[in-house]
Symmetry: C2
Subunit: 317 residues, 2 copies
């Protein structure tokens, strides 16, 4: 299997500047990397399959973008800076136009986020992209899901639910007006991995996760790992005004693909959050609730909804 590099060599060889520490890139049985002194390696692997993780109709460059972006989002949640990746690409046909556009999308993300493609393989099969990504973090400074403490503020970056609106429009479930449609399509196809938050998270967050399966499901991972509960407020959720007016908060709470960061901070860091928000309006952090001893509640005005049994999007349901 190791030698199916023909397509990768032709289309993908020059993707990304040499990452810090890359000793040997694409073209041998394996790549060789020297991890910089004082840094730890943060590693994640995610697969996108056509028809499951993205609609069959998605443009090749968007598929490439998203395959890397969802992996970059994992690094962001861990507080790691991107370094390099490997890709396994499964394709039904050796379609040079498709490959050229796909490679262009990949190159765009790699160049923008300082990532180098150092290896991988291609094979024939239903369209699927597996990416294994690696980043570096100063030793011991990584952020996990474990560490949220009672009284911590829960925050999310950006806006929630827009990617799910975009998907609902493609599936014919909604008819969005043009401006919101454009925003929703961008959120679905071009999610912004929140790497600008890496330093903030390392410095201040007690826990963090990226929101891929919906806020309710992903915040639950923090609660499970940290052994605590949470109360979140519906009115505080950062959503598009259309979601607010229509009352369609399920898009923000239970739909996937946001790739925003959900994190917890000790209450003493409120001033740092305000400073962050004044400097980074695009990646604004919105307080949406608090960590409690136990339970998992959504406050909706006078009502309280029990979230402890609600699930986000899951495969194999």
């Amino acid at each position: 299997m190791a030698n199916e590099f023909a397509i990768i060599e032709q289309y993908f060889k020059a993707i990304g500047d040499p990452a810090s520490g890359t000793v040997l890139g694409i073209g041998d049985d394996a790549a060789v990397v020297e991890v910089p002194t004082g840094q730890q390696l943060v590693i994640s692997m995610d697969t996108l399959i056509a028809g499951i993780h993205f609609p069959q109709s998605t443009a090749p460059a968007d598929i490439a973008y998203k395959a890397l972006a969802v992996n970059l989002s994992d690094l962001a949640a861990m507080g790691a800076n991107p370094a390099w990746f490997l890709m396994s690409l499964s394709l039904e046909h050796d379609d040079s136009q498709w490959l050229t556009q796909f490679a262009a999308g990949l190159k765009w993300v790699a160049d923008n986020y300082g990532l180098q493609l150092i290896g991988g393989d291609t094979c024939r099969g239903k369209l699927a992209i597996s990416i294994q990504i690696a980043g570096y973090v100063p030793s011991g400074r990584y952020v996990t899901r474990q560490g949220a403490a009672v009284g911590d503020i829960i925050l999310v970056s950006g806006e929630l639910g827009n990617a799910a609106l975009g998907l609902a429009q493609i599936e014919g479930k909604l008819e969005l007006e043009p401006t919101l449609l454009a925003k929703s399509e961008a959120a679905l196809n071009r999610p912004q991995p929140r790497l600008e938050l890496v330093f903030f998270l390392r410095e201040f967050a007690s826990s963090a996760i990226d929101i891929s399966d919906g806020l309710v499901a992903d915040l639950r991972h923090i609660l499970d790992a940290s052994g605590c509960g949470a109360v979140i407020e519906k009115a505080a959720l950062p959503v598009d005004v259309w979601i607010e007016r229509q009352g369609l908060y399920e898009y923000a709470l239970e739909a996937g693909d946001d790739y925003e960061i959900c994190c917890t901070l000790a209450p003493g860091f409120q001033a740092e959050v305000e400073r962050w928000n004044s400097l980074h309006p695009q990646t604004r952090l919105t307080p949406i609730g608090k960590i409690t001893e136990s339970g998992y509640q959504l406050l909706d005005g006078e009502h309280s909804i029990d979230l402890s049994r609600r699930q986000g999007y899951r495969h194999f349901d």
Copy 2:
């Protein structure tokens, strides 16, 4: 995508002893690894797809075994010792019997080769396994395809062609007698990654590759990377006596899936090869030819066959 760990947590969480330097394993957005001082990371990624890389009828434990073994074989060819891996598993159904058997196969290999599963994901789709494997090598001591020099001896480990015989029997192209059938099935389903050769390769080899696409194609990668030619002798090829008697050398030359090591050594190291062979009869190294300035020839008695345009098994042909 990062949170589809349910199946991995249930079936795969305890696979392999903690690898040297694993700081954080399965269960967060990413794993964290501290590479030991003085070591470099050797990384490879290979995907196996049902019906392409293994017959649909293959037993789950054999699929798991092979998915790891082909990746371990890449590490062996680089002179690296196994450390950890990530796996992306695509499955049509959440079949607990299949998963239990698959996990048992994976655990067997991981335990035998000192590998730890530190992350990955599962998703619904046609059966496919992507594995990203990492090993360590003392800094600068990795072996590549580049480095073969004129006059070097070309050697291969073990026997060639047996896995292809096994596949031919499954496909109804051959009828093997029971002893050879058992050996061929083992070669096909349970290829032995030649990790015992790692120290020998680091010490003595000028170049190395693992034979996944057939000797002719894989040795050509060494010639291309090293900028030289080769002459190999048919009569010297290490094959089962049945292949020799039937004259079916194409199984040894052009069929894939051997996962033996092909390497080159300066001629001065012949005594080391003999010592290796006396101590390791199972992983015997057989001299099969020499590196030349240019060309690529197979000597068959009086005849000389030009290999420079022959291809091994390739996807997307």
